[in-house]
Symmetry: C2
Subunit: 356 residues, 2 copies
């Protein structure tokens, strides 16, 4: 198989974790005789520094010309503390999602048995949890009109959805539910929001085409609670952009660490793969970041964009093996872990390559 992959390292710990995602792709390419070619591009703070633009034109052109994209992380503390900055790293990520039509963000919450103890939840609550989130990614209050009054004293964002936006992601989520546990929970705030009422209407309609799937509608406040109370009860979770942002981060804690979670953004064209974690500037460049989410993002890429299931499974097994041998990065190590086996970013990346 011949594929061209664009690597966008981004900001903070992005570059150092993405190195290992790419290394794993190269190794898989060699071992299985796939011809993977690579290019690299800037985005976010890195894009602003180099070109003044969080999504340089060149990056977008390269993205459109690639078969899949491996992304690192975005954001910089400098902008977080300056709410009035006009140009912001995150705009790059939002724009590329929109430009590539990446309307469905898939976030699997998978648990490695070895990490059951790394979570703040009780192991018996966690064990058996297997959730696949479908977060809508190109609509909602993220992309609705933003306004600031002339005196700067009033600010607004429009939360808006159209029928076709809900339909297309609902169909993807139901199709996934059919090959999983046949349960789908759609999360909204239909008791208050008009956009959620449309959301619920559309999901109710699509549900009719999937009578085998058991559909539940849940309010976001309740869902945020149930996810902590009893994560096992969820199979496929379908939700809007903002609610999905919140719920998937919350759910990451269930998996023991953000550092273990990958996501796939898909839609009209090229797929986009990235860890759930952010740029974590406090540990950037310190060889402390967990590269496993980037490596798992590569597994998702192989499976979803290239249909290479065996290769994907091999990656998960290699990670499993590293964990079983007791190797941990700092974020997933707990007091009971043998201290001698705590690894830095590079050493953990090497371990996975070794076990591949």
């Amino acid at each position: 198989m011949k594929k061209h992959i664009l690597v966008i390292p981004g900001d903070g710990i992005g570059p150092e974790v993405t190195t290992w995602g790419k290394a794993v792709l190269e190794k898989i390419g060699q071992d299985f005789g796939h011809e993977f070619t690579f290019d690299e591009a800037l985005m976010g703070h890195a894009g602003i520094e180099a070109t003044g633009n969080p999504l340089p034109d060149e990056t977008l052109a390269k993205a459109k010309a690639s078969d899949a994209i491996l992304f690192g992380a975005i954001g910089h503390i400098k902008y977080d503390n300056d709410p009035s900055a006009k140009v912001r790293p995150e705009q790059g990520l939002l724009k590329i999602r929109k430009e590539l039509g990446l309307y469905a963000n898939l976030r699997p919450i998978m648990l490695f048995d070895e990490l059951l103890d790394a979570s703040s939840l009780k192991p018996e609550i966690l064990k058996g949890t297997d959730i696949l989130f479908f977060r809508e990614l190109t609509g909602d209050v993220y992309f609705g009109e933003k306004k600031r009054s002339e005196d700067r004293n009033t600010a607004s964002d429009l939360m808006i959805y159209s029928r076709y936006e809900v339909e297309r992601i609902a169909i993807k989520a139901y199709e996934a539910a059919m090959v999983r546990g046949k349960r789908l929970c759609s999360v909204d705030k239909a008791n208050v929001l008009e956009a959620s009422r449309l959301w619920r209407e559309v999901v109710q309609e699509i549900a009719k085409n999937y009578p085998e799937v058991e559909t539940e509608h849940m309010f976001i406040d309740n869902a945020a609670m149930q996810l902590v109370k009893n994560p096992k009860k969820f199979d496929v979770v379908l939700t809007a952009n903002l609610f999905g942002d919140i719920l998937t981060d919350e759910a990451s804690q269930i998996a023991g660490s953000m550092g273990m979670l990958a996501s796939a953004s898909i839609g009209d064209g090229t797929g986009f793969f990235e860890p759930i974690h952010g740029s974590a500037h406090d540990i950037a460049g310190m060889d402390k970041a967990n590269p496993l989410a980037s490596i798992l993002s590569v597994a998702l890429m192989l499976e979803i964009s290239f249909g290479l299931k065996d290769e994907a499974r091999l990656i998960t097994s290699a990670i499993d093996k590293a964990l079983k041998e007791g190797y941990r990065t700092g974020d997933i190590a707990d007091a009971n872990t043998d201290k001698a086996k705590i690894l830095g970013t590079k050493a953990m990346g090497q371990k996975v390559l070794e076990y591949l």
Copy 2:
């Protein structure tokens, strides 16, 4: 002390839990020689059934004439499954919040030691958690303009904040932080939302007047995660209406059960006190609901609206005693609890009265 209290039982389990909140008020009145008088009114589904209006005019008039309001719960499954219903129970609650200017919703997350095991979080993660949420309650996407296109295929809600709305609740939150742990975490999504950028600007300004308070700004996705990961790190949490709705429900799981959490809504006039839990129609009328959140709402009323701290403390102690003796309602009982001590709504209410 002479006070007039309006009781609004509302929907579902509202009436049966509110009975016990009221009974506790009566007992406190007798024991301490306060003259508490009561009236009752309809709201929500109950209001719709009787008058067609989720907030009957009479209810609003009575509310304005009272010194404090004890509310039960709102909502009915019938409307949840019918996203196109024009008149909805929740409108009553939203309207009374707006009409009474109840812009600050205080939700204390307090942990009874006896219930450490009822949570899905590990006891060592929980122990020592003591959070006071300040949720803005009369702005945001809850009250911004709602639209549905004529073809009904597009729906929107305006997320909007003005400077004075953020200022007044920020001041209340900082004042509270000053008499607590002097730490305040403001939660927003300033990397994406204009309304959040205004929010952050205003909080940064107010913060200057409270140099002793350590201020942190956190994105909502991260906050949803940190709350599960390490709830102890929070002291006062200040946030907008929608984010507060989500975070406080999530946090309720930390306290072991929604059934244990009360909230106070305050602002320009009469204070409004209610459990965090919803109407729970599945168990309504079955003598299964936990009356403790309603009783704790009464404790908040005595403390916040009437300044009766000793009386409030007495109520908390009585609940503590009931829990120490091993008495539990079903929602807070765990496998290790002596089954013989599981009580219904009435028996638990009686127990608290007895220990008062």
